[in-house]
Every structure is written in C-alpha cells, then in structure tokens.
C-alpha cells in the first residue's frame, strides 16, 4: 500500500488499486501459479489499475494525472522495490497520515485505515461515531493529502525528529483508545492495542536508535502485558493494586524491559522512556506491596519536565501518597485540584476519595466519590465507585 501510494500520489486511488490487485491475484494465482516475486507483481498491477483509474476520472485530465504520477515518482528516491525503499514508503505513509496540516482528530482514524488496514466500520465503532460520518472524514482527509500536496515522502533528516513526535503521539492515542475503559466492543479495542504495538514495532525498525520510539514500544508492551488481569471474570475493572500478577504476560514484560534498557543507554531521556520506566517499576514488583513508590514518584517528577500537565501532577501526588502516606499525597492533590480543568477529571476525585478513606475520613471520602460520579465516568469506573461508596457507608 505504502509503495503504491508513493507511486500514484493519491491515497484513495492507491487503496482501490491495491484492492483490485489482490482480487486479481485471488483469481489468477490458484490456477496459473504464484509469480516469482509476488510483491512486485501486486505493486505493478495495483499501479497500472490506479493510473488507469486516474485517466478515466473525468474530473482530471489525462495529462494532469500523468503529471501527478510522474511528480510523485520523481519525488521519491531511486531504488525500486528493495527493502530500504519499502521501509521508507511505510514511514512516509505513516508520516503523511500524521501530518500537522491534518486535523488532529482525523490522524488516528486515518492511520488506522490507511496504515493498519482496519475496516471503516470498526474504526467508527471504536470512536463511537456512525460509519458514514467516519467514512466522510476519511475521504476529506485523503483529499486534503492529495489536493494540498502533502508529500508521500520521508522528510529530510533535519525535520524528522519534529515529525516523529506527532507520529508517536498518534500511535500512543491508538493504544489508549484500545486500553482505557469505555463502552464498545472489547474485541475491537484489544485489536487497537495490537495495532498500536505493531505500528510501534514498525517504527522501531524504520528509525532504529531513536530512544523515544523504543521508549514508546517499551511502554506499550509493558502496559499491554497486564491486559488479561485488568478485567475481572465479571467484566469489572481491576485496579493495578488488586491485579493477579500471575496473569501478566511475562514475555511481553521481558521484551519491554529490554527495549527500555536499550533506549536509556542512549542517554537521551524523554516522555515515553519515563512513562515506560514507571510501567517497569510496576512490572518488576512481585506484589503491590513491593512496589517502589518513591522511585515512581521521582519518575513522575522528571516526567513533569517534559509534560507539565495536571494529569502528570496528579499521578505524582498519588505516588507520593503511596510512598509517604495519605496525608502527604492529599496535600499534593489539593494543590492540583485547584486547577479548574483538572477538577473536571473523575480520576482526581477518585484518588482524593481513596486517600480520604485511608485517613478514616469516610464522610469526606463518600463526598469525593459522589463528585467523581457526577462527572460521568465510563461504566466500569462507575461500578467501581458505587461499590466503594457502599463499603464506606456501612
């Protein structure tokens, strides 16, 4: 897909071409046998079908279509269909889908459709919008790429670090869309986590040696390793402290920790490496009681330098509470909850309620839980809050 997109210069037409080529392969190969280089065959057929379609398209003259195609080819590095060019094509496609000129809200769906090949219906379901709405957004985004001249080409090395940040953010958002509790199909959301990890792996292969790319992959692996333990058999959310650690995927954890170690060795820290390090603190603790909260609090303090957001400050306060006692954590949380934006975040009030409960201030804890409930969190969290209120009210 990536190679055909580069050769044709139009994402929508390339997609159709690739689909037609696959259909042709399914018809011809069983009877006539597989060609010597199947990938080259598919790309060649897809490209011909795509350029045929561009010529037939009455909105654009033949000359313009040819010019667009030649322009796209001339813009690409020579090298035909060898590995280096293929990797470049994939990176170029991901970068194009995450281009800053595209509406931030469309970058994740576009990446899922064009790079991951997810069906539009599944993407629409994941984002809780009707399918025609999502289809329309994707059409507009592909048109913008074509008509505004967003290049389907890896930018010069000097620009790559800036653009990579945007891509990493999109991959991270794909993962969180699958990971955080929300209504919707559990299977689809697990699929999103897998897609994100696949993308992160592809990026790590395409840009080896970049510590933040490795850091993101480590973070996703370490987080996803806990997936089996996060939901109870009755479908409720299980807090990290209460999870059955024997259900954690040790292979993923080992993989993630190795990636993180390699990234940290470069001596160029960043937000994803820090988040991965925090996840690693949890994954290397044999039990909740053995967790090194002081280390986690210190890591959140470092993370604040890269991501000075109330969310990170709140997480740091919660870690301080675990390390130095509920009163210390509560003091930090009270400072953070003075921020109007953060005060609308249910997790803040849940965290306050937990600490108030541990200090024996049950009435205040219930009040904080009710505030969290008023902020309309998702169903699993709602069930959790309700059960905690019941416990405290006894």
């Amino acid at each position: 897909m990536a190679t055909v997109a580069r050769l044709v210069g139009d994402l929508a037409v390339a997609e159709d071409g690739v689909q037609d080529a696959c259909a042709a392969a399914l018809r011809q190969w069983p009877a006539g046998g597989m060609p010597g280089n199947p990938r080259a065959w598919l790309i060649s057929v897809a490209r011909h079908k795509a350029t045929d379609r561009l010529r037939r398209d009455s909105r654009r003259g033949a000359k313009e279509a040819e010019a667009a195609r030649d322009g796209a080819v001339l813009a690409s590095p020579p090298g035909g269909l060898d590995w280096a060019s293929r990797a470049d094509d994939e990176l170029a496609l991901i970068l194009a889908c995450c281009h800053p000129a595209l509406d931030p809200a469309v970058r994740v769906p576009l990446t899922l459709r064009t790079v991951c090949g997810l069906a539009t219906a599944d993407i629409a379901a994941a984002f809780l919008v009707p399918e025609p709405t999502m289809a329309q957004r994707l059409v507009r985004a592909k048109r913008k790429i074509r008509d505004a001249g967003i290049p389907l080409r890896v930018p010069p090395p000097a620009e790559l670090p800036d653009r990579l940040g945007g891509v990493l953010r999109v991959v991270y958002l794909v993962f969180t869309a699958g990971h955080k509790p929300a209504s919707g199909d559990t299977l689809v959301r697990a699929g999103l986590c897998e897609q994100a990890i696949r993308l992160a792996r592809a990026l790590a292969g395409l840009v080896p040696g970049d510590p933040e790319v490795a850091g993101l992959l480590a973070l996703l692996l370490l987080t996803d390793a806990r997936r089996a333990a996060r939901i109870s058999d009755t479908g409720d959310l299980v807090l990290l402290a209460d999870q059955d650690r024997s259900r954690w995927d040790r292979a993923k954890i080992a993989d993630g920790e190795a990636m993180l170690a390699a990234a940290l060795r470069t001596g160029r820290p960043g937000r994803y490496q820090l988040q991965a390090a925090i996840a690693a603190c949890h994954s290397c603790a044999g039990s909740a009681a053995e967790t090194d909260w002081r280390e986690i609090a210190a890591l959140y303090g470092e993370l604040l330098r890269y991501e000075p957001t109330p969310v990170v400050a709140a997480n740091r306060a919660a870690a301080v509470a675990m390390a130095d006692g509920p009163a210390a954590g509560l003091a930090m949380l009270d400072v953070v909850s003075a921020d109007r934006q953060l005060a609308r975040w249910p997790q803040l009030h849940i965290a306050r309620a937990e600490l108030l409960g541990r200090l024996g201030r049950s009435a205040d804890a219930v009040a904080a839980y009710r505030t969290a409930l008023d902020l309309a969190p998702a169903a699993p969290e709602r069930a959790f809050i309700t059960s905690r209120i019941e416990e405290l009210s006894r």
């Binding site: 000359k63 000129a101 001249g149 967003i150 290049p151």
Partner: protein, 125 residues
Amino acid sequence: MRYLFLLYGPDEPLPAPGSPAGQQMIHEWRAATDAMARAGVLIDCGPLQPPATATTVQVRDGETLLTDGPAAEIKEQFGGYTLIDCADLDEALRWAATVPAAFNGKVEVRPVVQIPAGDPARAPG
C-alpha cells in the same frame, strides 16, 4: 505546485510609510520575499490597500450589484498576497512561516488548482 499565501493582519491601521515602524515593516517584508526570490520559488507578491478601499461585485439576474467594502466582514484584515511555486506543502509551509504576517497575524496557505497546459480552462500566458 503553486500556493497562494493570503496574508491576514490584525484589524488596525498600518504604520505610516515614513515612520520607524513603517520602515521596519518594509524591511521585514523585503527580507522574507528576497529569500523566496533567491530560492527561485517566488512568482509574485504584493500588499493590498486596506479593506475599506474594496468594492465587491456581484451579478444576479443580469444586474450588477456593487457593495462598498470587502466581500467578508471579518475581524482580521486581508492585507496582501504571495504566490509561490515549490515542491510540496511542507516547503510551502516552511516559507509561510517566514513572512511577517505569520508572526503578528495569520497566513492562509491555499493550493492553486493545477490545470494542465493546453487545457482551455488555463489562463493564457
């Protein structure tokens, strides 16, 4: 690909031509457009007289209607344009970020529709 920069500035009067602020403005503009000319991407550019000098034309039912003022009443002043020809949107955006309007106003980067040579829709010349 050709791109048109629509230069929007805040709705306030421009500094007087001879004044220090006015000369500074001209100097900054020259620097930006000279760089684009040296890079071979500049086709044309120019400042526009203020929106109050505009006349808007509409023809409806065979009748020509004239309005005193710009077509759209907006807070920002559409004050100038730059037309360039460069490789792709990334390059256009890099140049757009160098013009003074990007710092104290907004620059809209609009791709010009590519009409192939020989097509009757294309303007002569």
